[in-house]
Symmetry: C2
């Protein structure tokens, strides 16, 4: 039995505007109908795989549960990092969590924002690596390089090893991100593989390595897990000891120091989608080299990526060569493909002038569902609010605004003052300024409600919460 | 006294997505805070100018009145073309209309979608051309060329004429759009000016020319004006005779045949904004050659036009050279500047697959104001509706939908069945399916209302009109 450990606390900016701090890359539908996270969970499921253990950040916990529910998967646990501290503490927390029930538990640690098109081949590789991991070695997956990439670290195999084998091979050493000349040498040499950050080991073996090479981290993360609080199925690590753990990668913390390492070669396709150029490449360009989403039209374009990411938004490119255009209804990126790695500069520029698009999607995900603003005026705002089945917003009131609620899908249970009533499609209720109120979805389908606010101040912080099932202030 | 005749019935596609069939270029804010039409009307106003006579199409009549009201101008008349038939019938209708009160009325005929930055210089040129026009000549304005443009026709001055004079000169002949070699020759020669389609003549003089060179058109348009109906200040030409008039330009119909022609040279700046490349050029590129609107950010770009045309939509360009990106929340255009003339292909492509963005803006202008859809679901739609002061929607009912109305700005007078009531900000009303209802703005400020529709069919054609001040079915 292999326990998938999916790391999804990261929040990169290289795929802005689709990936934002509030809704990062792993949760976006970058390839096909599933998010990268959903595809990762599905890839590591089926015979021989336990339910996944998720390590993520507090802002993403309800995105995780909602996305797993959509694909009808249930996690064995969700560990909440009080803050992101790179992969070393995250993997350690997962190992400690699994070791509580089984020291010999086999862990397959994987980022959840990579693309691995051939799921069956990947599962076969994981299975082939199992004996070596069970024997106590730390197995890292090495990707057969198809170009002299300077953006990845490399794994140098031991003399006599076979980089094309379908069984784990011995590792000589880790090689940090090279310059282009060195990358070309390594690819030509043939004895080097890309370091994909995917690992297979037993909880006991990796804990031994932390004990030997990162004892302070073992101590801190151990206390963060002992002090963890559990609510709604989440295991919230204790922030006090957690922040004592060094902010570093598992490679630096233990892999580069351990001597019981092996490499499982993998040649069936992999990408970390580290930029829009990679998305273009992995999406299968057509005969002209173009990749167009629905609602994107290329006229006399070559080697160009055109993506419309908002329903009903038409994107047209004319006479483009080696270009990237990503269109959303609140933000549009147009970049030369050779400059794809500079997208983070766009985020920095927008942050500098206070544009919320730098970090936030128009849709705001909450424990109970999500909302988005449809229109904002001087003294009014219109929102679409979607409440998940069984979910409830907090009991609250506002000092500066009144609200009109109109249910347009599903059924709402609405509290206003002392009164509680059920509203269904096409029914409405008025919440006067100052009235204590709550919205719940008692049904089995999502409930959609249009909220029209009027008042002199419409900020999200004009809220007094009286009761909240999600324990927010 | 000069009577400005502003032609604004055209609907080009070269500035899509900002300019669409439903809201063409002349009404868009392409340069500064006014539309090109508003700027044209303002340019031809003040001492020596009568109120403008407008010639436009039926779909644009309320855009015309609203835009003139915004700039506090009143037209002397608005002629409605039953369909667009190019400039010859339009100018003829205006001449006949003016001649009814004064055969000697001086007409300054101008397209309303051009940019002429120096309004005072243009008025001075018009004044300088007046004596020659009063003497019975047809004066056409000739623009001093600053490049070998192949997109315009040229005017060849008579031998001995002075292309830099500030008085009308004699014309040798019209020259059709040239190839590039010929364009370069003409610009080098110095005796050629661009034909801008701007004319000054008396109504009587131009009617004589029509009588001599286009008698059938004079007859047809004469009957179209005699049969015109007048409502709400619009003069609707009679469609039957109107469509008998040849669909052609005034240049072809009379100017190229007349012998009483003169040219008024004009050197103080002019552009027909015939494409996004021209918009870029006329907008005053910065030191890097870039033109960026509000909410547009250029990172390492050169000679690039970036325009965000929707409030709250951020556009970022990275590493672009000679590019154009126009972002709206329902359509985005990205084109190489050298391909700017191919924008109409985008419109054709979108039309082919039935995308409404090809021809319609999200905002739909109506006689009483405008509306836009904020959200559409399976069985609901949310609209923002803005009703002008004093305006009223038709008395109507629907078979398939109920409506919730919430007033968020201003005051509404609402009829539902037999009841009439006033609603102000933060008040709402429910319109049950089948109920006869009407919305009016009795106030002095625009009234803004959020409408939430629910029902099985939400098309605009589910409407039964009982009474309509705008005489619609």
């Amino acid at each position: 039995m292999i326990h998938p450990v999916l790391l999804c606390g990261g929040s990169g900016t290289r795929l802005w505007p689709l990936s934002r701090k509030s809704y990062p890359k792993q949760f976006a539908r970058l390839m096909g109908d599933e998010s990268l996270f959903q595809a990762s969970a599905r890839r590591l499921s089926g015979e021989g795989f336990a339910a996944p253990l998720i390590v993520t950040g507090d802002p993403f916990r309800f995105i995780v549960t909602e996305q797993l529910a959509q694909t009808r998967q249930a996690p064995q646990g969700i560990l909440i990092e009080p803050e992101g501290r790179n992969t070393a503490p995250a993997v350690l927390a997962a190992a400690l969590w699994l070791a509580e029930s089984d020291e010999d538990a086999l862990m397959l640690v994987a980022p959840s924002d990579h693309v691995i098109p051939d799921a069956a081949a990947f599962r076969a590789a994981a299975t082939a690596a199992t004996p070596r991991a069970k024997a106590g070695d730390l197995v890292t997956f090495g990707i057969t390089p198809d170009r002299a990439e300077t953006g990845y670290g490399y794994l140098e195999l031991a003399k006599g090893a076979d980089a094309a084998a379908d069984t784990p091979q011995s590792l000589a050493r880790f090689v940090e991100k090279p310059d282009e000349a060195r990358a070309r040498e390594m690819v030509a040499d043939g004895n080097f593989l890309w370091n994909a950050g995917i690992f297979l080991f037993t909880a006991g073996a990796v804990l031994d390595a932390y004990r030997a090479h990162a004892p302070a981290m073992l101590d801190a993360v151990g206390r963060a897990l002992q002090g963890a609080s559990c609510d709604l199925g989440f295991t919230r690590l204790d922030a006090g000891p957690w922040v004592e753990a060094e902010d570093t990668s598992i490679d630096y913390a233990i892999m580069e120091k351990a001597d019981n390492l092996a490499v499982m070669p993998y040649a069936a396709g992999w990408s970390d989608l580290g930029g829009w150029d990679a998305v273009w490449m992995e999406s299968g360009p057509d005969d002209q080299g173009n990749v167009c989403s629905d609602h994107a039209t290329a006229i006399s374009c070559e080697d160009t990526l055109l993506r419309s990411e908002t329903p009903g938004l038409e994107l047209v490119g004319i006479g483009l060569k080696d270009m990237i255009a990503i269109a959303m209804n609140d933000a549009v990126l147009v970049a030369h493909k050779s400059q794809a790695q500079r997208v983070k500069e766009a985020v920095t520029a927008l942050k500098a002038r206070g544009a919320s698009q730098a970090v936030q999607l128009p849709r705001d995900y909450r424990p109970w569902g999500w909302y988005e603003s449809l229109a904002i005026g001087g003294r009014f705002q219109v929102k679409r609010i979607v409440v998940n089945p069984g979910a409830a917003l907090s009991l609250q009131s506002h000092h500066h605004r009144s609200e009109h609620w109109i249910v347009v899908e599903g059924t709402a249970r609405v509290t206003v003052g002392d009164e509680v009533k059920l509203l269904t499609e096409n029914q409405s209720v008025y919440i006067p300024l100052g009235a204590v109120h709550r919205m719940e979805n008692p049904g089995k389908l999502p409930m959609v409600l249009i909220e029209v606010q009027t008042g002199s101040y419409l900020g999200e912080d004009d809220i007094i919460r009286y009761e909240d099932v999600y324990a927010r202030d």
